[in-house]
Protein backbone atom coordinates (compact mmCIF):
# COMPACT_ATOMS: atom_id res chain seq x y z
CA UNK A 1 0.00 0.00 0.00
CA UNK A 2 1.23 3.46 -0.81
CA UNK A 3 0.01 6.55 0.98
CA UNK A 4 0.71 10.13 -0.01
CA UNK A 5 -0.10 12.50 2.81
CA UNK A 6 -0.36 16.25 2.21
CA UNK A 7 2.44 16.20 -0.36
CA UNK A 8 3.52 19.63 -1.52
CA UNK A 9 6.30 19.93 -4.07
CA UNK A 10 7.52 23.16 -5.55
CA UNK A 11 9.63 23.54 -8.66
CA UNK A 12 10.24 26.74 -10.61
CA UNK A 13 6.88 27.94 -11.94
CA UNK A 14 4.87 24.96 -10.72
CA UNK A 15 3.52 23.54 -7.51
CA UNK A 16 1.95 20.23 -6.54
CA UNK A 17 -0.29 21.08 -3.67
CA UNK A 18 -1.56 19.05 -0.80
CA UNK A 19 -1.71 15.72 -2.57
CA UNK A 20 -3.50 13.05 -0.58
CA UNK A 21 -3.82 9.64 -2.12
CA UNK A 22 -3.94 6.04 -0.94
CA UNK A 23 -3.35 3.19 -3.35
CA UNK A 24 -4.13 -0.28 -2.04
CA UNK A 25 -2.09 -3.42 -2.57
CA UNK A 26 -2.51 -4.83 -6.04
CA UNK A 27 -4.45 -1.85 -7.29
CA UNK A 28 -3.96 -0.43 -10.78
CA UNK A 29 -4.44 3.23 -10.09
CA UNK A 30 -4.52 5.68 -12.96
CA UNK A 31 -3.97 9.35 -12.37
CA UNK A 32 -5.54 11.31 -15.21
CA UNK A 33 -4.64 14.85 -16.05
CA UNK A 34 -3.85 17.14 -18.94
CA UNK A 35 -0.29 17.99 -19.98
CA UNK A 36 1.31 20.23 -17.38
CA UNK A 37 -0.96 19.14 -14.55
CA UNK A 38 1.98 17.78 -12.55
CA UNK A 39 1.66 14.04 -13.23
CA UNK A 40 5.32 13.40 -13.98
CA UNK A 41 6.41 15.57 -11.09
CA UNK A 42 4.36 13.44 -8.73
CA UNK A 43 6.01 10.28 -10.05
CA UNK A 44 9.44 11.91 -9.74
CA UNK A 45 8.59 12.71 -6.14
CA UNK A 46 7.58 9.14 -5.33
CA UNK A 47 10.67 7.80 -7.15
CA UNK A 48 12.83 10.11 -5.05
CA UNK A 49 14.34 12.41 -7.62
CA UNK A 50 12.83 15.37 -5.86
CA UNK A 51 11.99 15.77 -2.19
CA UNK A 52 8.64 17.30 -1.18
CA UNK A 53 8.58 20.51 0.86
CA UNK A 54 5.82 19.08 2.99
CA UNK A 55 4.03 15.82 3.51
CA UNK A 56 4.90 12.16 3.71
CA UNK A 57 5.25 9.24 1.34
CA UNK A 58 4.53 5.94 3.04
CA UNK A 59 5.01 2.56 1.39
CA UNK A 60 3.79 -0.48 3.32
CA UNK A 61 3.74 1.53 6.52
CA UNK A 62 7.32 2.76 6.10
CA UNK A 63 7.94 6.46 5.72
CA UNK A 64 10.23 6.88 2.72
CA UNK A 65 9.89 10.63 2.29
CA UNK A 66 13.54 11.36 3.08
CA UNK A 67 15.01 8.09 1.85
CA UNK A 68 17.42 7.96 -1.11
CA UNK A 69 15.90 6.64 -4.37
CA UNK A 70 18.07 3.50 -4.31
CA UNK A 71 16.59 2.42 -0.98
CA UNK A 72 12.93 2.95 -1.92
CA UNK A 73 12.32 -0.16 -3.98
CA UNK A 74 10.16 1.64 -6.47
CA UNK A 75 10.03 0.56 -10.12
CA UNK A 76 9.99 3.63 -12.33
CA UNK A 77 9.31 3.68 -16.06
CA UNK A 78 9.52 7.27 -17.29
CA UNK A 79 7.88 8.48 -20.46
CA UNK A 80 11.15 8.53 -22.41
CA UNK A 81 11.94 4.99 -21.11
CA UNK A 82 15.43 6.14 -20.02
CA UNK A 83 17.09 2.96 -21.23
CA UNK A 84 20.85 2.83 -20.91
CA UNK A 85 21.90 2.98 -24.55
CA UNK A 86 25.46 1.88 -23.86
CA UNK A 87 24.30 -1.51 -22.57
CA UNK A 88 22.56 -4.33 -24.36
CA UNK A 89 18.93 -5.03 -23.49
CA UNK A 90 19.80 -7.92 -21.17
CA UNK A 91 22.31 -5.78 -19.27
CA UNK A 92 19.67 -3.08 -18.95
CA UNK A 93 17.24 -5.57 -17.45
CA UNK A 94 19.68 -7.03 -14.94
CA UNK A 95 21.25 -3.67 -14.06
CA UNK A 96 19.27 -3.33 -10.84
CA UNK A 97 20.20 -6.82 -9.70
CA UNK A 98 23.89 -6.38 -10.51
CA UNK A 99 24.23 -3.17 -8.53
CA UNK A 100 22.64 -5.07 -5.68
CA UNK A 101 25.54 -7.51 -5.78
CA UNK A 102 24.06 -10.40 -7.76
CA UNK A 103 26.33 -12.15 -10.25
CA UNK A 104 25.35 -12.03 -13.90
CA UNK A 105 24.27 -15.69 -13.84
CA UNK A 106 22.09 -15.25 -10.75
CA UNK A 107 20.57 -12.11 -12.21
CA UNK A 108 19.76 -13.75 -15.52
CA UNK A 109 18.03 -16.60 -13.73
CA UNK A 110 15.92 -14.19 -11.70
CA UNK A 111 14.75 -12.21 -14.73
CA UNK A 112 13.95 -15.23 -16.94
CA UNK A 113 10.23 -15.34 -16.05
CA UNK A 114 9.86 -11.60 -16.64
CA UNK A 115 11.56 -11.84 -20.04
CA UNK A 116 9.26 -14.69 -20.97
CA UNK A 117 6.14 -12.92 -19.76
CA UNK A 118 6.96 -9.85 -21.85
CA UNK A 119 8.10 -11.99 -24.82
CA UNK A 120 11.29 -10.05 -25.35
CA UNK A 121 13.65 -13.03 -25.69
CA UNK A 122 14.60 -11.89 -29.20
CA UNK A 123 15.70 -8.44 -28.04
CA UNK A 124 18.20 -9.40 -25.34
CA UNK A 125 21.31 -9.04 -27.48
CA UNK A 126 20.33 -5.78 -29.13
CA UNK A 127 21.17 -2.26 -28.10
CA UNK A 128 18.20 -0.16 -26.98
CA UNK A 129 18.66 2.49 -29.66
CA UNK A 130 17.68 0.07 -32.41
CA UNK A 131 14.36 -0.87 -30.74
CA UNK A 132 10.92 0.46 -31.61
CA UNK A 133 8.91 2.47 -29.08
CA UNK A 134 6.86 -0.53 -28.00
CA UNK A 135 9.93 -2.73 -27.57
CA UNK A 136 11.70 -0.05 -25.55
CA UNK A 137 8.67 0.22 -23.31
CA UNK A 138 8.69 -3.52 -22.65
CA UNK A 139 12.40 -3.48 -21.84
CA UNK A 140 11.93 -0.55 -19.48
CA UNK A 141 9.11 -2.40 -17.72
CA UNK A 142 11.16 -5.60 -17.51
CA UNK A 143 14.04 -3.63 -15.99
CA UNK A 144 11.72 -2.07 -13.42
CA UNK A 145 10.11 -5.42 -12.55
CA UNK A 146 13.47 -7.18 -12.17
CA UNK A 147 14.09 -5.59 -8.78
CA UNK A 148 10.73 -6.86 -7.50
CA UNK A 149 9.53 -3.37 -6.58
CA UNK A 150 6.78 -2.65 -4.07
CA UNK A 151 5.13 -0.31 -6.53
CA UNK A 152 5.41 0.27 -10.26
CA UNK A 153 5.28 3.84 -11.57
CA UNK A 154 4.37 4.21 -15.24
CA UNK A 155 4.55 7.61 -16.91
CA UNK A 156 2.36 7.77 -20.04
CA UNK A 157 3.41 4.27 -21.12
CA UNK A 158 1.32 4.27 -24.30
CA UNK A 159 2.06 7.73 -25.61
CA UNK A 160 3.67 7.79 -29.03
CA UNK A 161 2.40 4.35 -30.05
CA UNK A 162 0.09 3.89 -33.00
CA UNK A 163 -3.51 2.80 -32.45
CA UNK A 164 -2.92 -0.92 -33.06
CA UNK A 165 0.13 -1.12 -30.90
CA UNK A 166 -1.60 0.79 -28.11
CA UNK A 167 -4.46 -1.67 -28.01
CA UNK A 168 -2.07 -4.64 -27.88
CA UNK A 169 0.14 -3.01 -25.30
CA UNK A 170 -2.80 -2.13 -23.07
CA UNK A 171 -3.69 -5.80 -23.09
CA UNK A 172 -0.10 -6.68 -22.18
CA UNK A 173 -0.12 -4.24 -19.30
CA UNK A 174 -3.37 -5.68 -18.02
CA UNK A 175 -2.06 -9.23 -18.27
CA UNK A 176 1.18 -8.40 -16.49
CA UNK A 177 -0.73 -6.70 -13.73
CA UNK A 178 -3.10 -9.62 -13.32
CA UNK A 179 -0.18 -12.05 -13.27
CA UNK A 180 1.95 -10.44 -10.63
CA UNK A 181 -0.66 -8.32 -8.92
CA UNK A 182 1.80 -5.50 -8.38
CA UNK A 183 0.55 -2.18 -7.04
CA UNK A 184 0.73 0.16 -10.00
CA UNK A 185 0.42 3.90 -10.40
CA UNK A 186 0.12 5.04 -13.98
CA UNK A 187 -0.24 8.62 -15.09
CA UNK A 188 -1.81 9.47 -18.42
CA UNK A 189 -4.14 11.86 -20.17
CA UNK A 190 -5.97 9.06 -21.96
CA UNK A 191 -9.47 8.05 -20.93
CA UNK A 192 -9.18 4.81 -22.93
CA UNK A 193 -6.34 3.63 -20.74
CA UNK A 194 -8.23 4.53 -17.61
CA UNK A 195 -11.35 2.73 -18.79
CA UNK A 196 -9.48 -0.42 -19.75
CA UNK A 197 -6.85 -0.71 -17.05
CA UNK A 198 -7.72 1.18 -13.92
CA UNK A 199 -9.25 -0.19 -10.78
CA UNK A 200 -9.63 3.39 -9.58
CA UNK A 201 -8.72 6.75 -11.03
CA UNK A 202 -7.79 10.19 -9.81
CA UNK A 203 -8.08 13.45 -11.70
CA UNK A 204 -5.19 15.88 -11.40
CA UNK A 205 -5.52 19.51 -12.40
CA UNK A 206 -2.88 22.24 -12.00
CA UNK A 207 -1.11 20.38 -9.23
CA UNK A 208 -4.20 19.44 -7.26
CA UNK A 209 -6.17 16.22 -7.12
CA UNK A 210 -9.76 17.15 -7.95
CA UNK A 211 -11.41 13.78 -7.51
CA UNK A 212 -10.62 10.14 -6.74
CA UNK A 213 -12.87 7.14 -7.24
CA UNK A 214 -14.19 4.53 -9.63
CA UNK A 215 -14.26 5.87 -13.16
CA UNK A 216 -18.00 5.19 -13.57
CA UNK A 217 -18.70 6.93 -10.32
CA UNK A 218 -16.75 10.00 -11.40
CA UNK A 219 -18.41 9.98 -14.81
CA UNK A 220 -21.84 10.10 -13.18
CA UNK A 221 -20.94 12.64 -10.55
CA UNK A 222 -17.96 14.77 -11.49
CA UNK A 223 -16.99 17.09 -8.67
CA UNK A 224 -16.10 20.07 -10.83
CA UNK A 225 -16.52 21.50 -14.28
CA UNK A 226 -12.87 20.68 -14.93
CA UNK A 227 -13.40 17.00 -14.15
CA UNK A 228 -16.53 16.92 -16.29
CA UNK A 229 -14.89 18.51 -19.31
CA UNK A 230 -11.72 16.45 -18.87
CA UNK A 231 -13.77 13.26 -18.96
CA UNK A 232 -15.25 14.36 -22.28
CA UNK A 233 -18.48 15.70 -20.75
CA UNK A 234 -17.80 18.89 -22.56
CA UNK A 235 -21.32 20.35 -22.51
CA UNK A 236 -22.24 21.96 -19.26
CA UNK A 237 -25.61 23.57 -18.74
CA UNK A 238 -27.51 24.69 -15.72
CA UNK A 239 -30.39 22.51 -14.60
CA UNK A 240 -32.71 25.49 -14.42
CA UNK A 241 -33.03 25.49 -18.18
CA UNK A 242 -34.32 21.96 -18.22
CA UNK A 243 -35.70 21.54 -14.73
CA UNK A 244 -38.91 20.15 -16.06
CA UNK A 245 -36.82 17.14 -17.11
CA UNK A 246 -34.77 16.51 -14.00
CA UNK A 247 -35.88 16.30 -10.47
CA UNK A 248 -32.68 17.50 -8.94
CA UNK A 249 -31.52 20.62 -7.19
CA UNK A 250 -32.45 23.59 -9.31
CA UNK A 251 -29.03 25.21 -8.95
CA UNK A 252 -26.91 22.26 -9.96
CA UNK A 253 -25.36 21.89 -13.37
CA UNK A 254 -25.42 18.92 -15.64
CA UNK A 255 -22.74 17.80 -18.08
CA UNK A 256 -22.99 15.50 -21.07
CA UNK A 257 -20.96 14.24 -23.99
CA UNK A 258 -21.73 15.48 -27.52
CA UNK A 259 -22.78 11.94 -28.49
CA UNK A 260 -25.30 11.37 -25.72
CA UNK A 261 -28.24 13.19 -27.28
CA UNK A 262 -31.11 12.27 -29.56
CA UNK A 263 -33.50 14.42 -31.55
CA UNK A 264 -36.98 14.26 -30.01
CA UNK A 265 -40.13 16.35 -30.47
CA UNK A 266 -40.75 16.60 -26.73
CA UNK A 267 -37.16 17.65 -25.98
CA UNK A 268 -35.60 21.02 -25.21
CA UNK A 269 -35.05 23.58 -27.92
CA UNK A 270 -31.53 24.01 -29.24
CA UNK A 271 -30.92 27.15 -31.27
CA UNK A 272 -28.48 26.18 -33.97
CA UNK A 273 -25.40 28.27 -34.57
CA UNK A 274 -23.87 26.08 -37.29
CA UNK A 275 -23.13 22.48 -38.22
CA UNK A 276 -20.35 20.66 -40.02
CA UNK A 277 -19.06 17.17 -40.66
CA UNK A 278 -16.59 15.56 -38.27
CA UNK A 279 -15.19 12.01 -38.38
CA UNK A 280 -17.87 10.74 -35.97
CA UNK A 281 -20.85 12.35 -37.74
CA UNK A 282 -22.48 15.75 -37.93
CA UNK A 283 -21.38 18.21 -35.28
CA UNK A 284 -23.93 20.84 -34.40
CA UNK A 285 -23.15 23.78 -32.16
CA UNK A 286 -25.90 25.88 -30.70
CA UNK A 287 -27.40 27.46 -27.63
CA UNK A 288 -29.74 26.33 -24.88
CA UNK A 289 -30.48 29.62 -23.22
CA UNK A 290 -27.09 31.24 -22.78
CA UNK A 291 -25.14 27.97 -22.60
CA UNK A 292 -23.25 27.07 -25.72
CA UNK A 293 -23.13 23.34 -26.39
CA UNK A 294 -22.14 20.98 -29.14
CA UNK A 295 -23.78 17.72 -30.11
CA UNK A 296 -22.92 15.01 -32.59
CA UNK A 297 -25.66 13.28 -34.60
CA UNK A 298 -25.36 10.67 -37.29
CA UNK A 299 -27.39 12.72 -39.80
CA UNK A 300 -28.64 16.24 -40.32
CA UNK A 301 -32.00 16.58 -38.50
CA UNK A 302 -35.10 18.51 -39.65
CA UNK A 303 -34.48 22.09 -38.71
CA UNK A 304 -37.42 24.44 -38.07
CA UNK A 305 -36.90 28.17 -37.39
CA UNK A 306 -33.21 27.40 -36.96
CA UNK A 307 -34.07 25.19 -33.99
CA UNK A 308 -34.19 21.49 -33.23
CA UNK A 309 -35.47 19.69 -30.16
CA UNK A 310 -33.13 17.32 -28.35
CA UNK A 311 -33.22 14.95 -25.43
CA UNK A 312 -30.14 14.16 -23.37
CA UNK A 313 -29.85 10.39 -23.10
CA UNK A 314 -27.06 10.25 -20.59
CA UNK A 315 -25.75 13.00 -18.39
CA UNK A 316 -23.73 13.64 -15.26
CA UNK A 317 -24.49 15.91 -12.38
CA UNK A 318 -21.69 18.22 -11.30
CA UNK A 319 -21.76 18.16 -7.55
CA UNK A 320 -19.45 20.93 -6.37
Amino acid sequence: MIELKNITVEVPSFKLENINLTIDDGEYFILLGPTGSGKSLLLDTIAGSIYPEEGEIIIDGKNITEIQPEKRNVGYVPQDYSLFDHMKVLDNIIFGLKVRGKTKEEAIEIVQPIIKKLSIENLLNKYPYVLSGGEKQKVAIARALAIKPKILLLDEPLTGMDQNLRARFMEDLKKIHEDINLTTLQVTHSMDEARYLATRVGILNSGKIEQVGLLDEIMVMPKSEFVASFLGLENIISNQLINNMLKINKNSRIAFRPYDVIVSDDGIALEIENFFKVPEGIKITGFIGDDKISIILDKIPDIRDNKIKIKIKKFSIIQD
Binding site: A47, G48, F95
Partner: protein
Protein backbone atom coordinates in the same frame (compact mmCIF):
# COMPACT_ATOMS: atom_id res chain seq x y z
CA UNK B 1 13.45 4.58 -45.47
CA UNK B 2 15.41 6.58 -47.98
CA UNK B 3 16.68 9.80 -46.49
CA UNK B 4 17.67 12.59 -48.83
CA UNK B 5 21.08 14.03 -48.17
CA UNK B 6 20.84 17.50 -46.67
CA UNK B 7 23.15 19.10 -49.26
CA UNK B 8 20.71 18.14 -51.98
CA UNK B 9 19.18 21.58 -51.53
CA UNK B 10 22.39 23.56 -51.89
CA UNK B 11 23.00 24.61 -55.46
CA UNK B 12 24.52 27.28 -57.65
CA UNK B 13 26.76 30.20 -56.71
CA UNK B 14 25.88 29.96 -53.01
CA UNK B 15 27.38 26.50 -52.77
CA UNK B 16 30.50 27.54 -54.71
CA UNK B 17 31.12 30.61 -52.54
CA UNK B 18 30.83 28.57 -49.34
CA UNK B 19 33.29 26.04 -50.74
CA UNK B 20 35.83 28.65 -51.86
CA UNK B 21 35.84 30.51 -48.55
CA UNK B 22 36.23 27.25 -46.62
CA UNK B 23 39.07 26.04 -48.83
CA UNK B 24 40.97 29.32 -48.39
CA UNK B 25 40.91 28.81 -44.65
CA UNK B 26 41.94 25.16 -44.87
CA UNK B 27 44.89 26.09 -47.15
CA UNK B 28 45.94 28.76 -44.66
CA UNK B 29 46.07 26.11 -41.92
CA UNK B 30 47.84 23.50 -44.03
CA UNK B 31 50.36 25.71 -45.84
CA UNK B 32 52.94 26.25 -43.07
CA UNK B 33 52.76 22.61 -42.00
CA UNK B 34 53.22 21.27 -45.53
CA UNK B 35 55.95 23.81 -46.25
CA UNK B 36 58.02 22.68 -43.28
CA UNK B 37 57.63 19.04 -44.23
CA UNK B 38 58.69 19.72 -47.84
CA UNK B 39 61.85 21.49 -46.64
CA UNK B 40 63.17 18.27 -45.17
CA UNK B 41 65.23 16.41 -47.75
CA UNK B 42 65.64 12.64 -47.37
CA UNK B 43 69.40 13.07 -46.88
CA UNK B 44 68.91 15.25 -43.80
CA UNK B 45 66.34 13.04 -42.07
CA UNK B 46 68.92 11.21 -39.97
CA UNK B 47 71.47 14.00 -39.61
CA UNK B 48 69.17 16.89 -38.77
CA UNK B 49 65.72 15.53 -38.00
CA UNK B 50 65.93 12.25 -36.11
CA UNK B 51 68.70 13.23 -33.74
CA UNK B 52 68.94 12.06 -30.10
CA UNK B 53 68.42 15.65 -28.95
CA UNK B 54 65.28 16.14 -30.98
CA UNK B 55 63.88 12.74 -29.96
CA UNK B 56 64.51 13.54 -26.31
CA UNK B 57 62.68 16.86 -26.70
CA UNK B 58 59.69 15.16 -28.24
CA UNK B 59 59.72 12.38 -25.65
CA UNK B 60 59.61 14.75 -22.68
CA UNK B 61 56.93 16.85 -24.38
CA UNK B 62 54.66 13.88 -25.07
CA UNK B 63 55.29 12.47 -21.60
CA UNK B 64 54.47 15.74 -19.84
CA UNK B 65 51.41 16.31 -22.03
CA UNK B 66 50.11 12.82 -21.30
CA UNK B 67 50.61 13.09 -17.54
CA UNK B 68 48.97 16.51 -17.46
CA UNK B 69 46.03 15.27 -19.55
CA UNK B 70 45.44 12.38 -17.14
CA UNK B 71 45.50 14.78 -14.19
CA UNK B 72 43.14 17.15 -16.02
CA UNK B 73 40.65 14.32 -16.63
CA UNK B 74 40.89 13.10 -13.05
CA UNK B 75 40.19 16.50 -11.53
CA UNK B 76 38.23 17.91 -14.44
CA UNK B 77 35.50 15.27 -14.53
CA UNK B 78 34.14 16.02 -11.05
CA UNK B 79 34.33 19.73 -11.85
CA UNK B 80 32.49 19.19 -15.14
CA UNK B 81 29.84 17.15 -13.28
CA UNK B 82 29.50 19.90 -10.69
CA UNK B 83 29.04 22.54 -13.38
CA UNK B 84 26.53 20.54 -15.37
CA UNK B 85 24.40 18.98 -12.64
CA UNK B 86 24.54 20.95 -9.39
CA UNK B 87 22.55 24.10 -8.83
CA UNK B 88 24.19 26.71 -6.63
CA UNK B 89 24.58 30.47 -6.46
CA UNK B 90 27.60 31.81 -8.31
CA UNK B 91 27.66 28.94 -10.78
CA UNK B 92 28.14 31.35 -13.68
CA UNK B 93 31.19 32.78 -11.99
CA UNK B 94 32.68 29.32 -11.53
CA UNK B 95 31.95 28.57 -15.17
CA UNK B 96 33.75 31.76 -16.19
CA UNK B 97 36.75 30.91 -14.01
CA UNK B 98 37.18 27.64 -15.89
CA UNK B 99 37.45 29.63 -19.12
CA UNK B 100 39.96 32.19 -17.85
CA UNK B 101 43.08 30.23 -18.98
CA UNK B 102 42.00 30.62 -22.62
CA UNK B 103 42.25 34.40 -22.53
CA UNK B 104 45.26 35.09 -20.32
CA UNK B 105 48.56 35.43 -22.25
CA UNK B 106 50.45 32.29 -21.40
CA UNK B 107 53.66 34.08 -20.47
CA UNK B 108 51.58 35.72 -17.74
CA UNK B 109 50.44 32.26 -16.65
CA UNK B 110 54.08 31.20 -16.30
CA UNK B 111 54.92 34.17 -14.12
CA UNK B 112 51.83 33.59 -11.98
CA UNK B 113 52.73 29.93 -11.47
CA UNK B 114 56.30 30.81 -10.52
CA UNK B 115 54.98 33.16 -7.86
CA UNK B 116 52.40 30.74 -6.45
CA UNK B 117 54.87 27.88 -6.21
CA UNK B 118 57.91 29.89 -5.16
CA UNK B 119 59.51 28.41 -2.03
CA UNK B 120 58.24 31.17 0.24
CA UNK B 121 54.66 31.01 -1.07
CA UNK B 122 51.90 28.67 0.23
CA UNK B 123 52.00 26.55 -2.94
CA UNK B 124 55.77 26.20 -2.69
CA UNK B 125 55.60 25.39 1.02
CA UNK B 126 53.01 22.68 0.34
CA UNK B 127 55.17 21.22 -2.43
CA UNK B 128 58.25 21.40 -0.22
CA UNK B 129 56.41 19.41 2.44
CA UNK B 130 56.05 16.57 -0.07
CA UNK B 131 59.65 16.97 -1.23
CA UNK B 132 58.66 18.42 -4.59
CA UNK B 133 60.34 21.46 -6.05
CA UNK B 134 58.82 23.68 -8.69
CA UNK B 135 60.64 25.58 -11.38
CA UNK B 136 62.74 24.60 -14.37
CA UNK B 137 61.74 20.95 -14.12
CA UNK B 138 59.13 18.42 -15.27
CA UNK B 139 56.71 19.36 -12.45
CA UNK B 140 56.70 22.95 -13.69
CA UNK B 141 55.99 21.83 -17.25
CA UNK B 142 53.12 19.58 -16.16
CA UNK B 143 51.51 22.25 -13.98
CA UNK B 144 51.79 24.81 -16.77
CA UNK B 145 50.21 22.36 -19.21
CA UNK B 146 47.36 21.63 -16.80
CA UNK B 147 46.67 25.33 -16.40
CA UNK B 148 46.70 26.26 -20.08
CA UNK B 149 44.87 23.23 -21.49
CA UNK B 150 42.48 22.09 -18.75
CA UNK B 151 39.63 24.27 -20.00
CA UNK B 152 39.21 22.28 -23.22
CA UNK B 153 38.66 18.94 -21.52
CA UNK B 154 36.45 20.37 -18.78
CA UNK B 155 34.21 22.27 -21.20
CA UNK B 156 33.87 19.26 -23.51
CA UNK B 157 32.93 16.96 -20.63
CA UNK B 158 30.57 19.56 -19.16
CA UNK B 159 28.63 19.86 -22.41
CA UNK B 160 28.43 16.07 -22.74
CA UNK B 161 27.09 15.59 -19.21
CA UNK B 162 24.59 18.42 -19.74
CA UNK B 163 23.23 16.68 -22.80
CA UNK B 164 22.69 13.47 -20.84
CA UNK B 165 19.09 13.40 -19.50
CA UNK B 166 19.22 13.57 -15.69
CA UNK B 167 16.35 11.11 -15.63
CA UNK B 168 18.77 8.36 -16.69
CA UNK B 169 20.57 8.83 -13.41
CA UNK B 170 17.34 8.88 -11.42
CA UNK B 171 16.13 5.67 -13.02
CA UNK B 172 19.48 4.01 -12.34
CA UNK B 173 19.15 5.04 -8.70
CA UNK B 174 15.60 3.73 -8.35
CA UNK B 175 17.02 0.44 -9.62
CA UNK B 176 19.37 0.41 -6.67
CA UNK B 177 22.55 2.10 -7.87
CA UNK B 178 24.31 4.46 -5.47
CA UNK B 179 25.41 7.89 -6.67
CA UNK B 180 28.95 6.61 -7.17
CA UNK B 181 27.73 3.55 -9.10
CA UNK B 182 25.67 5.84 -11.32
CA UNK B 183 28.79 7.84 -12.17
CA UNK B 184 30.88 4.80 -13.05
CA UNK B 185 28.22 2.65 -14.69
CA UNK B 186 26.01 5.19 -16.41
CA UNK B 187 27.54 8.66 -16.72
CA UNK B 188 31.14 7.80 -17.62
CA UNK B 189 30.27 5.10 -20.19
CA UNK B 190 27.70 7.42 -21.79
CA UNK B 191 30.14 10.33 -22.10
CA UNK B 192 33.30 8.26 -22.65
CA UNK B 193 33.74 9.57 -26.14
CA UNK B 194 33.54 13.16 -24.94
CA UNK B 195 36.07 12.38 -22.23
CA UNK B 196 38.43 11.12 -24.91
CA UNK B 197 37.67 14.08 -27.17
CA UNK B 198 38.31 16.52 -24.33
CA UNK B 199 41.48 14.62 -23.46
CA UNK B 200 42.73 14.81 -27.04
CA UNK B 201 42.02 18.54 -27.20
CA UNK B 202 43.84 19.22 -23.94
CA UNK B 203 46.71 16.92 -24.87
CA UNK B 204 47.12 18.58 -28.28
CA UNK B 205 46.91 22.02 -26.69
CA UNK B 206 49.63 21.04 -24.20
CA UNK B 207 52.02 19.87 -26.90
CA UNK B 208 51.66 23.19 -28.71
CA UNK B 209 52.30 25.26 -25.57
CA UNK B 210 55.42 27.44 -25.55
CA UNK B 211 54.62 30.73 -23.83
CA UNK B 212 54.20 29.48 -20.27
CA UNK B 213 57.06 26.98 -20.62
CA UNK B 214 59.47 29.72 -21.73
CA UNK B 215 58.91 31.22 -18.27
CA UNK B 216 58.73 28.18 -15.97
CA UNK B 217 61.09 25.72 -17.72
CA UNK B 218 62.97 27.38 -20.56
CA UNK B 219 66.04 25.19 -20.24
CA UNK B 220 66.94 21.55 -20.50
CA UNK B 221 64.67 19.41 -18.30
CA UNK B 222 66.90 17.27 -16.04
CA UNK B 223 67.50 13.98 -17.82
CA UNK B 224 65.99 15.19 -21.11
CA UNK B 225 66.37 17.93 -23.67
CA UNK B 226 64.20 21.08 -23.55
CA UNK B 227 60.45 20.87 -24.30
CA UNK B 228 59.96 20.53 -28.08
CA UNK B 229 58.26 23.88 -28.61
CA UNK B 230 61.00 25.61 -26.64
CA UNK B 231 63.65 23.66 -28.53
CA UNK B 232 62.24 24.96 -31.84
CA UNK B 233 62.41 28.47 -30.46
CA UNK B 234 65.96 28.02 -29.14
CA UNK B 235 67.21 26.54 -32.41
CA UNK B 236 65.59 29.39 -34.30
CA UNK B 237 67.35 31.91 -32.02
CA UNK B 238 70.74 30.21 -32.41
CA UNK B 239 70.84 28.95 -35.99
CA UNK B 240 67.97 30.71 -37.73
CA UNK B 241 65.19 29.17 -39.80
CA UNK B 242 67.29 26.32 -41.20
CA UNK B 243 68.20 24.96 -37.81
CA UNK B 244 64.59 24.92 -36.55
CA UNK B 245 63.23 22.90 -39.46
CA UNK B 246 64.40 19.47 -38.27
CA UNK B 247 62.75 19.49 -34.85
CA UNK B 248 59.67 21.27 -36.28
CA UNK B 249 59.13 18.59 -38.89
CA UNK B 250 59.59 15.79 -36.38
CA UNK B 251 57.17 17.44 -33.97
CA UNK B 252 54.54 17.79 -36.70
CA UNK B 253 54.84 14.20 -37.90
CA UNK B 254 54.77 12.58 -34.46
CA UNK B 255 51.92 14.76 -33.19
CA UNK B 256 49.87 14.12 -36.31
CA UNK B 257 50.39 10.36 -36.17
CA UNK B 258 49.28 10.18 -32.54
CA UNK B 259 46.42 12.57 -33.19
CA UNK B 260 45.15 10.47 -36.09
CA UNK B 261 45.42 7.25 -34.09
CA UNK B 262 43.39 8.80 -31.24
CA UNK B 263 40.80 10.10 -33.70
CA UNK B 264 40.41 6.62 -35.15
CA UNK B 265 39.97 5.10 -31.70
CA UNK B 266 37.47 7.81 -30.88
CA UNK B 267 35.38 6.92 -33.93
CA UNK B 268 35.13 3.24 -32.98
CA UNK B 269 31.52 2.53 -32.20
CA UNK B 270 32.50 -0.80 -30.71
CA UNK B 271 34.73 0.84 -28.12
CA UNK B 272 32.75 3.94 -27.35
CA UNK B 273 29.06 4.44 -27.02
CA UNK B 274 28.10 7.01 -29.63
CA UNK B 275 25.15 9.07 -28.48
CA UNK B 276 22.65 10.28 -31.02
CA UNK B 277 22.45 7.00 -32.91
CA UNK B 278 18.74 6.45 -32.72
CA UNK B 279 16.45 4.60 -35.00
Amino acid sequence: MHIRKANFHYKGPFKIVIWIISIIFIIFILAPIVRILTLVSPSTIFTQVITPGNLSSIEITLYAATISTLIILLFGFPLAYLLSRFKFPGKNILDAIVEIPIMIPHSVVGIGLLFVFAESEPGGILFNYFGISFGYNLIAVILAYIFVSGTYAIKTMEEAIKSLPPRLEIVARTLGASQTQVIFRIVIPQVARSILTGGILSWARSISEVGAILIVAPYIIPGYNAIAGVQVYNQFEVTGLEGAIGISALLIVISLVIFIILKIIQGQRKIFFVPGVRK
